[in-house]
């Protein structure tokens, strides 16, 4: 089955490891947090501060702020904009993402 990487003839450098809530996942150079999480089959990485509902990507271009996630202890990062580096620690964000 074709993949987007095939379609675009992409030959990125070697994959590297990042963590999601402590669990190791793979990321490719050039992938944003959102892209790597999608590739790992994860479509939500935060819960809303009112009703605790799951959210992930919505607008994909940094306008809707639904995809907020904590990266390297900094909460409120837009996953669709943040490029990943080896060893980055991604954490599911609950509510505002700041510890009470």
């Amino acid at each position: 089955m074709r993949s987007p990487l095939d379609l675009a003839g992409a030959r990125p450098g070697p994959a590297f490891t990042v963590t999601l809530d402590g669990r190791e996942i793979e990321a490719l150079p050039g992938q944003t947090v959102a892209a790597a999480l999608w590739a790992a089959g994860v479509t939500s990485w935060r819960t809303t501060r009112g009703a605790g509902r799951p959210r992930g990507v919505f607008c994909g271009i940094g306008v809707c702020f639904d995809c907020l996630v904590t990266v390297n202890d900094r909460p409120g990062r837009r996953a669709c904009l943040v490029p990943l580096q080896p060893g980055d620690a991604i954490r599911t964000q609950e509510g505002t993402g700041h510890d009470d």
Partner: protein
């Protein structure tokens, strides 16, 4: 042409002061109509922070009104509390230097004599109240009576609870008077409303309504900006402001005055004020003013440096030359009552104002001496 409406009193202005007037007048047995050319909370109320403060007022008529109002707000909170986000959070006024602490403590002593609860706090006690304050502050005064409310919700719920007929999007174009000059109602762009009493709760636009009634009220706009942050858990527990805020309020300068005011909200964002400048009704955003607000706030609370502002809005406080509102009957126009000009304290003083207006409307002796708030206390402007 539609049949004119009739009622006992027309309140012009559906902001917090107008809403409070409607509520108390209704509960005193009057049939009330509220009119606003915009929406509920469309004026200064929609730009307010919802301060219910006694801490920033020096002894005198405004402080007396504030003490009365805070008591009334606490009563209303029993009825409305959650729906208007009422929080009896208390205020902490911080001094940046030992010199200003001395001045602050002297001020607090005078307020105490007038009935305000004010406690000196310093060292561990101060940082127990507000752990995230900048270190090394010499001290502060804690005012447990200060409270907060969400202004637009307050206006909307008070109006609804009053049972008054509410007409938004309706502009008053004239004040109708009998041949001897007594008020008999208003003309709007959608019909007349007949009433023997008219309450000017038009806030920053109160001068215009006074003029339609053939009289004058020197209300001028005093622009302020508020910075709103991203939603946060509770990190600032009181209304916290710097001691020089009081001087800013009392200043007559038209130039930009800023003094940090920081508070959390029930919904999450932190609100940061306060700026004052007299620039007419200029709504454009002034980056220098916003920067000054940010600088003041981050000096008080260093953690705010990393916090993002997601919004800012402007509002126009109704400013009177002697910094006191106009409350009560206008001797120049029988049937006309004023309830405007509260500068930055309108939300807090709304309940006291509404209560006093209801008393004067029903010919009861007002609970406070209204002489300092007389609308005709200013020399007549040359036309």
């Amino acid at each position: 042409m539609s049949q004119p409406l009739t009622c006992d009193v027309v309140v012009v202005g559906a902001g917090t002061v107008g809403a409070a007037c409607a509520l108390y007048a209704s509960r005193a047995g009057l049939d009330v109509v509220v009119v606003d050319r915009g929406s509920v909370a469309g004026g200064t109320t929609g730009a307010g922070e919802g301060n219910l403060l006694v801490s920033d007022k020096e002894p005198g008529p405004e402080l007396d009104l504030a003490l009365l109002s805070n008591r009334l707000w606490a009563e209303l909170a029993q009825e409305f509390g959650r729906s208007v986000e009422y929080e009896a959070k208390g205020g902490v006024v911080v001094a940046a230097s030992t010199g200003s602490l001395t001045v602050l403590e002297q001020f607090a002593a005078e307020q105490r004599a007038a009935g305000v609860v004010a406690e000196h706090v310093a060292g561990d006690a101060l940082y127990a109240l507000e752990p995230r304050l900048a270190p090394g502050l010499p001290g502060a005064v804690h005012y447990p009576q200060d409270a907060q409310v969400m202004p637009a919700l307050a206006a909307a719920h008070l109006v609804r609870a009053s049972g008054a007929r509410l007409f938004t999007g309706r502009t008053v174009t004239d004040v109708l008077r009998t041949t001897d000059g007594t008020v008999r109602g208003v003309r709007t762009d959608r019909g007349d409303i007949h009433a023997p009493a008219l309450v000017n709760a038009a806030g920053t636009w109160g001068a215009g309504l006074a003029a339609l009634a053939g009289t004058s009220l020197p209300v001028l706009p005093r622009r302020g900006f508020v910075l709103v942050t991203e939603p946060l858990p509770r990190m600032v527990h009181h209304k916290v402001y710097a001691a020089d805020y009081v001087a800013d309020v009392a200043s007559d300068s038209a130039a930009l005055q800023t003094s940090p005011v920081v508070e959390g909200t029930a919904a999450g964002p932190i609100l940061i004020g306060a700026s004052r400048e007299r620039v007419g009704f200029d709504r454009s955003f002034s980056l220098p003013a916003l920067r000054a607000l940010a600088a003041g706030a981050t000096r008080l609370f260093p953690f705010l440096s990393e916090v993002r502002a997601i919004r800012s809005y402007a509002g126009f406080r109704p400013y009177m030359p002697d910094h006191l509102p106009a409350i009560g009957p206008d001797p120049r126009v029988p049937g006309l009552f004023h309830a405007c000009g509260h500068e930055g304290a309108g939300i807090g003083l709304a309940t006291g104002t509404g209560h006093l207006i209801a008393q004067t409307l029903t010919a009861k002796t007002p609970g406070l001496d209204l002489a300092p708030f007389r609308p005709d206390r200013f020399p007549e402007e040359a036309v």
